[in-house]
Amino acid sequence: MSDMIKITYREAIKQSIRDVMQKDERVFLMGEDVGNYGGAFAVSKGLLKEFGAERIMDVPLSESGFTGAGIGAALAGMKPIVEVMTVNFSLLAMDQIFNNAATLLHMSGGQLNVPVVIRMGCGIGRQLAAQHSHSWEPFFAHVPGLIVLSVGTHEDARGMLISAMESPDPVIIFEYTFMLNMEKEIPADSGAVEIKKAKVLREGKDISLITYGAGVYKCLEAAEALGQEGIDAEVIDLRVLRPMDEETFLNSVKKTNRALIVEEAWRSVSISSEVISRIMEKAFFDLDGPVERLCGVEVPIPYPKHLEDASVPQVSDILDKVKKMLKP
């Protein structure tokens, strides 16, 4: 086993960008404020100096234009990393992503690959209010042709981009701005990670906590606390929101016979809806009771801290819910 190092989520992402830039000259990073400003959230700080303005490209406020340009550059043999500052602004680039990146391969009968990687900051937690706190993973997870990754851990922050760059097909990567300053230990030699499978982060036999993104550490924390009370929870990070790896969570549910889905996105028509549906379809007879979920409350996120906190599931909510589910 290799040594462990302490690293922030931000630094882990930055190192992954540096790795792929060093490895392949076709790679370049383009996005608003990725260069001179150092990245809206300081993720790319220092990279402009290291790689120069040709490879760390500041772009104008033109989400549709520059995302489309990234797709075009990918069509023409480059390997762009497009940073859409946050998912909140991605609606402006949605046509390019859904109608171009996701469909060109099929429309052209397999002729055109679109090896673009689009990274976006995502999620709630900084009191940025309604237009800046969206969790829109569900939109992207609905669209065939895309590979959709959610960075829920520091190892994935260090490795997912590296693996995504090998994909011949467009990859969307969600990074959680709330986690940027969080420090965790990862193996010193962390690098590329597998990007087809969900991951069991904690084994348990009493209930499956299925989650992704900002829910991952919350569920792990909840699982530890539940352990203190004699409840043995299994925690699964979905990681790949599309194409979804159902095998991992179905196996888990077949073992635990109970599941709770935890996500920060709005409840209706969400990732949790999809997970529940697949459990319904393929593990119904293994269930001891209905699968439940804790999701984002269906409200444009309000500004004040206490209302923001109330808008997404907290560790205490998970504890309460699990206890209610297991001890009726």
Binding site: E32, D33, G35, N36, Y37, G38, A40, A42, K45, D58, V59, P60, L61, S62, E63, S64, G65, N88, F89, L92, R126, Q127, L128, A129, A130, Q131, H132, V297, E298, V299, P300, P302, Y303, P304, K305, H306, L307, A310, S311
Partner: protein, 328 residues
């Protein structure tokens, strides 16, 4: 200049008071931010006060105003209650958006003040629609839309300019060109940096003005409004200005030289206007001190008001997602 002659002592003092109020209100806000009383993004307008004050003084109560997330100055110039603004930034129920919006989302329908819009360029189409409504209703008001030079790179700028000109609706587009979009200099966002030249692409009359000079802004906006009213057409006014402070409280300002900022500070619109008033004997030094004191008292009051404000009950989290009345 004609305008200078017209300005009487009372009006001059009122405008000075507004600029000082904005300046000090924001300085206080920054202080409260460091004390964590205000959170989220906080974008200060410091240095740009002559634009909001110069433009808004020319509008009537019926005119509509739409702004960006950098809108404290505009709200104050519009006469939105400073107490309600401060309370909003505190996230209290007594805020002008009932605490839901925070700094980026100040609204006051009673003053025809329509935000506080945090998707860059997202409010431009709204402004065209409001002007269209006015035309259909045969009202005589103007809709005034403020936005940054960064926003002018977005497709929404193009579509809105074209629609406004095509439909011949009374919109005043005010571009606050402060040379930076976050950390991205205008030379990296616009191939044509004399933004006023973009008017011709739509057959829209346009002008650029020194946005650091209140009197110049007043004169330019007078001409603009005259054109709009006489011709029933939109107008594009570019105010060249500069923000003295960081983009937001998160900004380390890596992208510009301190010396550049210092150079611009010499053009500070407040001392400039103050000197003009003194020179023209429209004000006395004593009166200035009185204004400053009154402003400080007002700001202090707003802080107390905000402190004493109440938190929305978390049970009401989902209010205002849908209307409480059944139909309109």
């Amino acid at each position: 200049m004609e305008k200078k002659k017209k300005l009487d002592s009372k009006e001059g003092q009122r405008l000075l008071q507004q600029m000082i109020l904005i300046r000090r209100f924001e300085e206080k806000s920054a202080e409260e931010y460091t004390k964590s009383k205000i959170r989220g993004f906080l974008h200060l307008y410091t240095g740009e006060e002559a634009v909001a004050v110069g433009v808004i003084q020319a509008l009537t109560e019926e005119d509509n105003i739409l702004c960006t997330y950098r809108e404290h100055g505009h709200a104050l110039a519009r006469g939105v209650d400073p107490n309600a603004i401060m309370a909003e930034m505190y996230g209290k129920q007594e805020g002008c958006s009932k605490g839901r919006g925070g700094s980026m989302h100040l609204f006051d329908a009673s003053k025809n003040f329509f935000g506080g819009n945090a998707i860059v360029s997202g409010h431009l189409p709204l402004s065209v629609g409001m002007a269209l409504a006015a035309k259909k209703q045969k009202k005589n008001n103007v809709t005034c839309c403020f936005f940054g030079e960064g926003a002018a790179a977005e497709g929404e700028f193009h579509e809105s300019m074209n629609l406004a000109a095509l439909w011949q609706v009374p919109v005043l587009f005010v571009c606050e060109n402060n040379l930076y979009a976050m950390g991205t200099a205008i030379k990296l966002t616009h191939s044509m940096q004399q933004l006023e030249k973009k008017g011709a692409a739509y057959g829209i009359e346009a002008a650029a003005v020194d946005g650091m000079d209140l009197l110049e802004v007043m004169e330019a906006v007078e001409k603009a409004l005259k054109t709009i009213k006489e011709k029933g057409q939109p107008y594009f006014l570019v105010c060249n200005t500069y923000r003295f402070r960081a983009h937001s409280m998160f900004d380390a300002e890596l992208y510009r030289e301190k010396s550049e900022v210092e150079e611009w500070k010499k053009k500070d619109p407040i001392p400039k206007f103050q000197e003009f008033l003194l020179k023209e004997k429209l004000i006395t030094a004593k009166k200035i001190t009185e204004i400053e004191k009154a402003v400080d008292a007002q700001i202090q009051e707003s802080i107390e008001f905000a402190e004493n404000g109440t938190w929305e009950d978390a049970e009401n989290l989902t209010r205002f997602v849908y209307s409480e009345t059944e139909s309109i």
